[in-house]
């Protein structure tokens, strides 16, 4: 299997806070890898480091074998890393359709854009119904679909997803996880950060547990789901 993404000893700082303390992580083609851990453990920071929104102070991020950690975000995206950010961050005053089109900003072939748009609408029929509506007026679940759809418009080779279930009603959470599985079936490689650890471990192949900026545990998802330490990582008990 081809190694799509690799983090080697990555250290990242937020101002004076040492947020990531030497992260090592690998994602292979066709996998769903999940990164779980308590609030503030550094999950989001890891994803932001990969997509170039912050730059690591030490270590390297390799995408398909090439170092990308020094590149600005828009060039990393160009290489083929899609990022569904935490809190969805859709553009509230663009319509659903415009949100999708901006996702395909780098694609100049009109034909391909329409094709991908059709694919997204196929995946999320709800979005098709609301294509002329402003992003900000969508419900939380629809916004999450839009955020995922927008990232898919880039046709990325790896999709980073940051807490896609956050703030969603249970029935929507199920839907989102089904979608993740479906995307993976269609061949997408996915790195998933989740607070809903059990759900995430159900859908993922492998998992990493992050605690205060360090990876404390890793392995096949099934094994992690059984692990007592996982629970401790969350509840501190």
């Amino acid at each position: 299997m081809k190694k799509v993404l690799e983090l080697k000893n990555v250290h990242t700082y937020y101002g004076q806070i040492h947020a990531l303390k030497g992260i090592n992580l690998e994602v292979y083609e066709g996998e769903i890898v999940t990164l779980i851990g308590a609030n503030g453990a550094g999950k989001t920071t890891t994803l932001r480091t990969i997509s170039g929104m912050i730059h690591p102070k030490e270590g390297e991020v390799l995408f398909e074998g090439a170092a990308v950690h020094h590149l600005p975000a828009h060039l990393i995206v160009k290489r083929g890393i899609g990022h569904v950010p935490e809190g969805r961050r859709i553009f509230p005053r663009l319509t659903v359709e415009e949100n999708l089109e901006i996702g395909a900003f780098l694609e100049n072939d009109r034909h391909k854009v329409e094709e991908r748009k059709a694919e997204v609408f196929d995946l999320f029929p709800r979005l098709a119904e609301r294509r002329k509506q402003l992003g900000g007026t969508l419900s939380g679940g629809e916004q999450q679909m839009l955020a995922i759809g927008r990232a898919l418009m880039q046709d990325p080779r790896i999709l980073l997803m940051d807490e896609p279930s956050m703030g969603l009603a249970p029935v929507l959470v199920d839907l989102i996880f089904e979608t993740i599985a479906e995307l993976n079936n269609r061949g997408k490689t996915i790195l998933l950060v989740e607070q809903n650890a059990l759900k995430a471990l159900q859908v993922a192949h492998r998992g990493y547990v992050l605690q205060t900026g360090e990876i404390t545990l890793s392995g096949p998802a099934k094994e992690l789901a059984e692990n007592e330490e996982v629970k401790r990582a969350y509840l501190g008990g």
Partner: protein, 263 residues
């Protein structure tokens, strides 16, 4: 002094756009208690703090502090009445020295008039001295006196956190709100902080309300815990109650976890 709760929050709701950030939350915080609010990311904890301290005005409900209604009042007015806070991402006055930072919070307790300040009247000297002494005491208390004359922005992270607490204490608060005080700290610093928080309550008789992610810290020092999820208070109880409640486990670990835990 009555033994009425120091803070009463009644059915407070706050929405941003279409999003309900805090949804019909009610709380009573008894005096001299260490009370924690926990919940997953985006559960509305910081918004809740901002409502209490007056930075946001609630859409519905009311807030009583020390028996007095403070709903919709100016943050400075509320602070002057004895409510102090720290911030999730440290907000010190970077270009002032550590001791000056603390003295800023003595503003309402320093009784110098404008004329006093210009003319350096005896009252000015007296009040300034008092403010300075009290501030130095607080720095000492937070073990920062060696940093008193350094600029706040040059302090290491952990000391900045402590300085923020010292500054908040300078208000002589009845209620101290700590917003993720352990964020970014290493385990040793966290342990130190833990002792300090208990100490503050014991020494100064301050009620403490805190938001924290570090469950170890929360569970070991809080006497009562409220759990927020999607802006709603889903539970309130002792640490043991909270720790073993399936709803909490569900909120944190995800759906399906509760069954796993109880089986």
């Amino acid at each position: 002094m009555s033994e009425a709760p120091i803070l009463e929050v009644e059915n407070v709701t706050k929405t941003f756009g279409g999003l309900v950030a805090v949804n019909d939350v009610s709380l009573k915080i008894p005096r001299r208690m260490i009370f924690a609010v926990i919940g997953p990311n985006g559960a509305g904890k910081t918004t809740f703090f901002n409502l209490i301290t007056g930075i946001y005005k609630p859409d519905k409900g009311r807030i009583l502090f020390d028996g007095e209604e403070i709903t919709g009042k100016d943050p400075a007015w509320i602070a002057a009445r004895g409510m102090a806070r720290t911030f999730q991402n440290i907000r010190l006055f970077g270009s002032m020295t550590a001791v000056e930072n603390v003295m800023v919070a003595r503003h309402v307790h320093t009784k110098t008039s404008y004329a006093d300040a210009l003319l350096h009247t005896p009252r000015y000297h007296r009040e300034e001295k008092k403010a300075l002494e009290r501030s130095m005491e607080l720095l000492e208390y937070m073990q920062l006196s060696h940093r008193a004359h350094e600029l706040a922005k040059n302090l290491p992270y952990g000391e900045q956190r402590r300085l923020e607490i010292a500054r908040a204490l300078a208000l002589e608060p009845k209620l101290l709100l700590l917003d993720e005080p352990a964020a970014g700290m290493n385990p040793q610093e966290t342990e130190d902080l833990q002792k300090r928080i208990v100490g503050i309550r014991d020494d100064l008789g301050v009620t403490i309300l805190l938001i924290e992610h570090d469950m170890q810290l929360v569970m070991s020092i809080s006497e009562r815990i409220a759990v927020l999820d999607y802006g709603k208070k889903i539970l309130e109880g002792t640490p043991e109650e909270v720790q073993n409640d399936p709803r909490v486990i569900e909120a944190y670990l995800g759906r399906g976890a509760a069954e796993g835990a109880s089986s």
